[in-house]
Amino acid sequence: MLKAHYKTGLVFFPAFDWAIDPTHPEREERLLYTQDQVFEEGLLDIEDIIEYKPDIASEMDIKRVHFCVPDVFSVTTKSHFISAGGAVTMGRALMEKEIDRGFALVRPPGHHSMRVVHGNRGFCNINNEAILVEYLRRHYPVKKVAIVDTDCHHGDGTQDIYWHDPDTLFISIHQDGRTLYPGTGFTDELGGANAFGTTLNIPLPPLTSDEGYLYTIDHVVLPILEEFKPDIIINSAGQDNHFTDPLTNMNFSAQGYADLTRRLKPDIAVLEGGYSIEGALPYVNTGIILALAGLDYKGVVEPGYDAARMAQSADVTRAIKGIGDVVLSNWKNRRDMQEKIRGNREFIERRRNIMYDTDMIYEMQKDEIRICDDCAGALKIDSSADTGHHILGVQIPVHACPKCVEQGYEWFDKASTGPYDRAFLQDRPKDEYLEKILKQR
């Protein structure tokens, strides 16, 4: 009887037999009630809402994005291959024009997983969206991609992976890092020297409600997307910004998320966080699916929702407007700011310390980008962790110019003279992933 307006693909993989540990928020039970709601609503019976069985990502799909230390299988479990595979399934179905939009409702999540992976951080091992995007870039004529991360936490993993990529616009809307994990995601984090301004952070104050999120989408995100003109838009649809979420302090609702989805018009949405498994997830996901399909979602209201009580204060509204103005200004001035940052340098270095909260690992990273106007630039990463590993990762980007290809191989060849136990090379143009084991541990 009901027919979707947009052919919507759905991968639903609740991984009912997998958990980080039995009482962890990322446990078997997480999507149980969401499944109950989706099934009881009969969403999968709706004409042109099509359920897909997830594909299983390959080791190569993961190597295309990450430097896994010491290797892919040490830092993943079977469920990660399926979760990433689910996102890829939606990408393929979209590119093959089997669907107009897709939603990978999968576990485990991925947006805290950075380019170098020593273990699990923020419940994430590998980055589902990045694996999806790079798979599409490899197999289809996709160049410019926008990833809009609306999870309550800063998508620091996705930000890291795309820091130096001018063809990927990464926008993260999250609860201010001064009040929540991972403590980053401020408006001055704008990207590397070849990609300045294509990383944009919109930190919102605690107790932001529907109004604040939708204002940000309408006044900041949509105008920027309009200018960037991506080939596809991915939404990292984390649902921990819900007013019932136990780990966060925002007041977003199912109606609000459905509205956000309707306005943003993502090509593919991928589930990220969200741990209010009874009071939020069943309703928010129903709302997102209906919004993607172009169907009426007015009736999706969670028990105990009181719009008046949830409304944000005038201070919050003012603060959000101020932040939005800063972000828009940075976007407008990005080219000038990039010139200033570059100066006359040929290479620019960055040093960071990265904490893996779930696995209790401490990483020290130094990266170096070759300044380039012809391509994203060759990238070298020196990463060591208190697990005892010290690796070198080199990335030759997708549309690399000959000089950057040469630089990448030079770095990789020199690796044996360094302090590394392993060296990795991502030759993206050839889609080849090389590895040298330099010291046995």
């Binding site: 009887m1 609740p14 039995p22 009482t23 609503e41 969670e302």
Partner: protein, 559 residues
Amino acid sequence: MGNAMLIGLDVGGTHTDVVLIGPDGPFREVKVITDTSNLFKSVLSALEKITEGIDTLQIKRAVLSTTLTTNAIVTDQIEPVGMIVVGGPGIDPEAYRICPYFYCVAGAIDHRGREIDGLDEVEVMDAAARMKADGIRHIGVVAKFSTRNPSHEIRIEKILAEYGFEKIFMGHRTSGNLNFPRRISTTFLNAAVYSVHKNFFNAVKQSLAEKGLNIPIHILKADGGTMSFSSSIDFPGQTILSGPAASVMGAISSAPAEGDVIVLDIGGTTTDIAVLINQSPVLEPLGISIGKYKTLIRSLKTYSLGVGGDSVVQIKDGELVIGPYRKGPAMAYGGSSPTPTDALFVLEHIDDGDAEAARKGIQLIADQLGLRVEYAAERIFEKTCNMILEGAAHLVRDINSKPVYTVHELLEGYTVVPARILVLGGPAKYFVSHLKKISGYSVETVPRWGVANAIGAGLARTTCEVNLFVDTEKGVVLAPEENYTKAIRGAYSYADAEETAFELVRKKAAKNGAESENLQIEIIESLSFNMVRGFRTTGKNIRIRAQVKPGLIEGYKAL
């Protein structure tokens, strides 16, 4: 011997087949023409003929597979039904308005079975008064998540009882599966065919009794299982689309005990395709679809392809097209358009028809293709076989791409890899060697394929399914379908839940007319979750689906 014989009867579009089965197998068969305007006469005359000269006290049961309720629904000859639905948050139940007398009332139960909004009893009474004034006699009552908490449906039934309606059907009793829109359709269909079903079978029983034939009547269901007539009265929807199930059950004894088998029933208009795994038919995950209705009525997973022995053969835009329609019998049997059966007449030596007429028909096609008549016949026949095999491949692909939700099932789940085909239906034997050649599979006809459907109906087991739901945080174990709710005090483990599920299936099967010796009960779905709130485990959430495995009853040869 005592109580040792069984009757199986299957009503088809053209013929009604009935067999009498003893421990050594079927020993008498009768075929009567189906009078579609008087099903009762066809069924009664078939039963009278098959029992001529037999001591009917020796007959344990007669299983009837009829098209009664299917036809009533498909031709829309159903009586007006009223529906009261309770939606709550989510999609507006108005979207599921299935009939003119459809009332949405306020109230809400959530996915845990907690009441969020109380039932609006005034709205219920208002709807009742209107339906009474409109002369409605049967009402379906369906609330979202009633399989987790049937209290709203039960309350509505109590209110409606004051208004003197003839029969109320509650959603939670029709199925333990989640899917509110399907629950609405299923409850509606049960209400819509209740009278037609009850009256028909009561009339059959009565007429048989008048003739001194007191045989227990059972009905064949779409899932290849049976239920006694008395237990079917409240669930008449279970009797729809039993025809394809009869044929598949008839093929079971020809299938190897282990392995994946494709069953093809090649009819006049369609070929019905099903899959057996280790002699057990693959079931639809949720329920069967009939016409525009998607239901929760358990059924075999079958694929009906619009290609059969009498399909119209045409040339369209220079291409050979077969089916999907049938314009009448083959030209060899008096029809006016060429069919694959006519092609067979050209290729094989078939005695019982007008070979000349068949050849003339194929010549028309041959001329349009610029081929000799034998080559044209070959082309037609090969295309028919290819279409059928592609249909089978489609069904297998469908089964294998069914989404699963655990890592284990995704990585290690069963994949159907058929290597054998069983064929039944009128022209079955002519297809065997060609299908074998094209597919490379082992292909056989089902012995006595002409009445295999009636044999299948006669020997089908009594089946049923129970969905058990345990929530130890709420302190409750329930199977609303069975009217079963119990409070849990103290510890309750997965093993306890399994035991309860088995017990409920046993009870239900007995109520449906099963004999305890024949029961093979299995768990087909089981999930158990630790419920964790604030890092403490607060309970267990257990879901078990148990069933009597569909199959043939023991003690009787099928061949």
